[in-house]
Amino acid sequence: MARAVDVPAPSLRQRPWVRLAAPLLLVVLLAVLPLVLPESTNETLARIGVFAVAVLGLNVVMGYTGQVSLGQIFFLGLGAYITGYGVQQDWNIVLVFLLACLGAAAAGLLVALAAARLGGLAIAMVTIALPIVGVPLAKRLSDYTGGSQGLSARFADAPEATGLYDDQWQLYVVLVIGGIVFLLTRSLVRGKFGRAFAIVKGNEAVAASMGISPYRYKVLAFTIASLIGGVSGFLYMFVIQYTSPETMSFGHSIELLAAMVIGGAGSIVGSLLGGAWYVLVPELTNQVDSSLTALLQGVVLLAVLFVLPGGLASLVRRLGRGRRRLRAEPGPGASPTTPLSTAGSATATEETGTEKRGHA
């Protein structure tokens, strides 16, 4: 990061004790919060967690590897159905969890093996079929899925020994499983595979010339995305305890993609923001007029693409940087309120550029 060098004193984030204490503080905060928050807030937070994981999965294939996928919701639905069926059959819950992950990953692998053979936008064109085929398929396999009635499964009651209320227990489970998925994904995209994904996203021909097979890494990214989708499906069943074919409808698939872009493509924080967007915005618009939800989603999605290509996550990052710069050199040149329209996109591209260089 070239800019960090300009700052005379080491910024707050770079001091060693902050680097150690901040995650610790976060963990303590997350451990305490469910105990003190009201029930409805806990439930909303748990749902945000579920969809943040789903958006994270989409981010792996789309934000980091650059392959537009319109089918992520299908893997959430598949994971939810596998979980619901397993719980109804009284299978061991760990086994159910593994089956939900692996089932979704296997389906994703199968789709990716065919779709990634076509270059360019074919993955988008093929994955759009997943929710559209998924809904009638779920209705048809009514012996397993309960048809249009859907499938409900209650297995999220808090164990007696913990002394927790159900909503607190649910939020803890979502925090632990979701937290692990987020940490693992963070290491994945920052490591060797993440660099390979970035090159495949940047230029497939260059990737191939460096011995990185775009085909294989696209399939890998898509499979990991489906696996994470399966995890989010398990959590979905855990929190919402009910799924129906409507869960994986085409509209929800598009909303999930919008949430990812609005939250911030190729960003871990952006996935969290995307999950929050996915859950909170329909709740807010429903209070005004439920038919406005799609309209608002479309307007905001287009607005983000025009003025804020990095999504809300880049806004957070830019605000932080602006304040730091202001403190370092309070001159006229370092105004943090740069107009978003022209300078904004320039910084965004520059930013991704430096990030890539930092990784390589």
Binding site: L70, M125, V126, S209, L292, A294, L301, L305
Partner: protein, 293 residues
């Protein structure tokens, strides 16, 4: 035998609608190198305009013509003020823009005209005609005929007129076209307008059957994309043949393959795609493209 012929004719009619939308997608792709996921949504918007006019007492044929003119203008405006910024950039971002446009159009239609199904009057009667002892519906024949005529007219435009030549030049090489004095930006707007009009015709023909909702053409878009994959993005003829193939096969599969039935027939093109991808990754008629670094 009678059922079989009826199924094939109905399949060709459905396939013609997919073909029109698929052709619109190919038209936009050849001009600007991106896939317009809002092609179906734009068509739905123009069908809504026609429907709204008919409820105000305007004759159907006039309403349709007005809606087609509206589509041309709307397509051109979308190209100029929405897509142009993203055209030479990352194609994945441009695709997300079209998805945003689809969401926006669906939202506007749902907000203005609710998400309830609306009845759209048909251009053709529902009666059947007997032909060599087999009865086929007039609507299927009419839909297929109209779309074939529209395609022939487009082909004539592209091959026989100066405007068509200019459009082909821009699609082929925008930079050289600009150097030879063609107004590239305006021609791209014309291309998008033509594509939108093609979608509008398809939407108006299929609306009586599907009943009008903001998501009416979502399934048709999926079929059209399947036809584009099967036919190859570079081959308009291949796309039309693939769309007809899909229309006929899914209709036959719905009746003759018990597991598929009417509800799962949307899976048919994708089973077909999986098979084709394993054998011919460039599509049935497409060419392999080579990218220079």
């Amino acid at each position: 035998m009678g059922t079989f012929v009826q199924l094939v004719v109905d399949g060709l009619s459905a396939g013609s609608v997919y073909a029109a939308i698929a052709l619109a997608i190919v038209l936009v792709h050849s001009a600007t190198g991106l896939i317009n996921f809002a092609q179906g949504g734009m068509a739905v918007l123009s069908v809504y305009i026609a429907w709204w006019l008919t409820t105000r007492g305007v004759p159907l044929i006039v309403a349709l013509l007005v809606s087609i003119v509206f589509s041309i203008a709307f397509g051109a405006l979308v190209e100029r003020y929405l897509m142009r910024r993203f055209e030479r950039g990352d194609p994945d971002t441009a695709v997300v823009v079209t998805i945003g446009l689809l969401t926006l159009i669906t939202g506007v239609a749902g907000w203005l005209w609710t998400y309830n199904n609306q009845q759209f009057p048909s251009l053709f009667s529902l009666d059947t005609v007997s032909f060599l002892g087999v009865s086929v519906s007039q609507r299927s024949l009419g839909t297929t005929a109209v779309i074939i005529v529209v395609m022939a007219a487009l082909q004539g435009l592209f091959l026989g007129t100066k405007l068509g030549l200019a459009l082909r030049a821009v699609a082929n090489n925008p930079e050289s076209a600009a150097f030879s004095g063609l107004p590239v930006g305006r021609l791209l707007m014309v291309g998008w307008g033509l594509a939108a009009a093609l979608g509008a015709v398809a939407g108006a023909l299929v609306a009586p059957q599907l009943t009008l909702t903001p998501g009416m053409l979502d399934n048709a878009l999926v079929y059209a994309l399947a036809a584009v994959i099967l036919g190859g993005l570079t081959s308009p003829v291949g796309v039309v043949v693939a769309a007809w193939l899909i229309g006929v096969l899914e209709n036959l599969a719905a009746v003759y393959v018990p597991f598929i039935g009417y509800d799962l027939k949307v899976a048919v093109p994708f089973i077909l795609i999986f098979v084709v991808l394993l054998v011919r990754p460039q599509g049935l008629f497409g060419r392999k493209t080579v990218v220079r670094v």
